[in-house]
Amino acid sequence: MEEENNILRETVAEFCEKNLDEKKIETDGIDKKLTQLLAEQGFLGCAIPDKYSGSGLDETSYEIILEEIAKYSPTVAMRIFVLNSMYYPAVNGTAAEETLKDASTGKINIAVDFINKKTGNESVSGKIKGTLKNILGTDADKLVVFNDGTSLVSGPFKSESRDFMGFRGLKFGDLFLDNSVQVLDKSNRLSEIMEKAYGPASAIALGMIASALQKAIDYTNVRKAFGSQLRDFEPVSFRLARFRSTEVILRNSLYGKVDPYYTFNFAMEHLVEIARYSVNTHGGYGYFKDFGVEKFYRDAIVMKSIFYGTEELRKLTDHVYSEKINFI
């Protein structure tokens, strides 16, 4: 089992090394060719069942894929996450589940409006109208929105893309809707879907942490300052070593038996700090795209901002206070 996981990890890493050029992806987006490649490798719909042309992998394998891909391209990891952890549970068991086949094989792009959390654009008689701001994935063919219920909107969409600070390879902007809409569920399922996605979301954060930190450690091994290696400057190397503890512990929590509520909280609490310090470690170079460090800081704060806030903290707190503690 562990060996299988290691083989999978290596396979994904090899794929990434060969095919994921994050600087290019940040500029050009995830193009058709890359989407095709991800589908062929079975990464695109990795946690979606075979019958919908997915790979039907278990949670651990899915998280390993996300972690490894996020090390190279948080953007690509996020696309896979949105499909497997948000779109799939939203359409699964509904009449729209047939769309999964095209999504898993990369024939159509999908998006899920999890950023707005609740759109004010109510669907009226099979149509939805109005502007949807801040959509991650304006190039989608199908879009899940959450209002009073959970609904699927079908493209094509009129859209306006804007620059986005994080996950730049995903087209970001506003949609101008006048589209047909299909109610998937009468209740807004976002919160429930999100809670089930804590593990996979943590896997992306872990990949980002691992990669940003490794860049910083590598840099301290080559950079000289004041006559010695940067790694000999203990305030820096001590901090990086402590971050490594955090990374290793997070990985063990994710793939171990820790309740995902705790793992997710832990990941979100440390993601930004480690990405930020990786920039610091690189000095002036950290501020430029070329060095591939600042992007982790951007992606990290976006991830924390949209995935983690008062609402999630309330869930965690309710969880803690309602738990039976085995302690007298």
């Binding site: 804007r162 305030p235 930004v272 000095g283 501020y287």
Partner: protein
């Protein structure tokens, strides 16, 4: 020293709100170019008054509060001027006057590709040949590097076992033969400022181009950093206050009352207040020619961390709203504060040295 300048502060704030519209700020951020028309406008309106350091501090703070990219772009064409003001010859001071009048843009070239904060390790040389100096080497991350007319350059003029000795400062005309500058692109933030890598290929400098005395360059530059750090503290306070403005508006507009948000608001506000008190206190010593470098370094280190803290808090408190251009731009602008004019790491060593010396 600062309280009497409230009117001036209001004037700057008005200017910034009027000129640094979201459209303008977003445009220069996106295209990563220098807003020269705003520099000229700011000069014609007397926004920047380099003769009065207290005013400079306030201008930096209020401009950066609205947009740090544009704010720094407008207050940085004079970067390095203190070196000339304090140590330059008459000819150099004339050039400086033209800088103040807006005819020229100035810059300062200290950092090198391999050097970072380790100034004494620099490799650029200015070898004396007869009554000339021949400048060779390269500089990195030089603000205004590709748009400056003149640059204050630190270079090694003689070998010495003490690396702090043997360095000298020159005023370099960027039209000189052998000079080339490559604009560095894709910065995380402050993208309305110009940053470049410089190459010096056998540039001939005359003795008149030497600023002050030969061999004293390291000390001039350290003295300059003691001044410029207070301006970075002011940039940082501006950024932090800008982020704080966004947080306050968001909380009010959405009628947010939960106590956790109140705590975040309070934490940001308290850190800003601490930054302001430390910075203005350090500045009052500095501007009265009784500098206390440890206080300046404390103000710089603390305020820059506050800028980053406030910007991150704004991102997190605003959540999905933070994805709009204005807030995320503040976030991207903030980070450089901890890096330039001495990283936080360097500041902390400076502070510790003074603390131990002070006893």
């Amino acid at each position: 020293m600062f309280e009497e300048l409230d009117d001036y502060r209001n004037k700057i704030r008005e200017f910034a709100l009027k000129e640094f519209t979201e459209e303008v700020a977003a445009e220069y951020d996106r295209k990563e170019s220098y807003p020269d028309y705003l520099r000229k406008k700011s000069l014609s309106l007397g926004i920047v008054d380099m003769q009065n350091p207290a005013k400079v501090l306030i201008a930096i703070e209020e401009l950066c509060r609205v947009d740090a990219g544009l704010g720094i772009a407008l207050t940085t064409p004079y970067f390095g001027s203190e070196v000339i003001m304090l140590f330059g010859n008459d000819k150099q001071k004339e050039i400086l006057n033209d800088v103040y009048r807006g005819k020229y843009i100035l810059g300062l070239g200290v950092t090198e590709p391999s050097g970072g904060s380790d100034v004494a390790a620099l490799k650029t040389t200015a070898k004396k040949q007869g009554n000339k100096y021949i400048l060779n080497g390269s500089k990195m991350f030089i603000t205004n590097g590709a748009i400056a007319d003149y640059l204050v350059i630190l270079a090694r003029t003689s070998e010495d076992s003490n690396p702090h000795h043997g360095l000298s400062t020159f005023l370099l005309n960027t039209k000189s033969k052998g000079f080339s500058a490559t604009k560095l692109e894709d910065k995380l933030g402050v993208r309305a400022t110009n940053t470049a890598e410089l190459q010096f290929n056998n540039i001939e400098l005359s003795e008149d181009d030497l600023i002050g005395e030969e061999g004293k360059g390291f000390y001039y530059i350290m003295m300059f950093f003691n001044i410029s750090r207070i301006y970075v503290a002011a940039q940082s306070i501006g950024i932090a206050r800008g982020a704080f403005d966004k947080i306050k508006s968001y909380i009010k507009e959405n009628n947010i009352k939960d106590e956790d948000s109140m705590f975040q608001l309070s934490d940001v506000g308290t850190r800003i207040e601490a930054s302001i008190q430390m910075t203005y206190n350090a500045a009052s010593y500095l501007f009265e020619f009784k500098p206390k470098p440890e206080l300046t370094s404390m103000a710089k280190a603390y305020s820059s961390e506050t800028a980053v803290f406030a910007a991150e808090e704004a991102m997190e408190i605003l959540g999905d709203r933070s994805l709009y251009e204005d807030v995320q731009r503040i976030f991207r602008n903030a980070k450089i504060m901890e890096i330039w004019e001495g990283t936080s790491e360097i500041e902390k060593l400076v502070i510790a040295r003074y603390i131990l010396k002070g006893e």
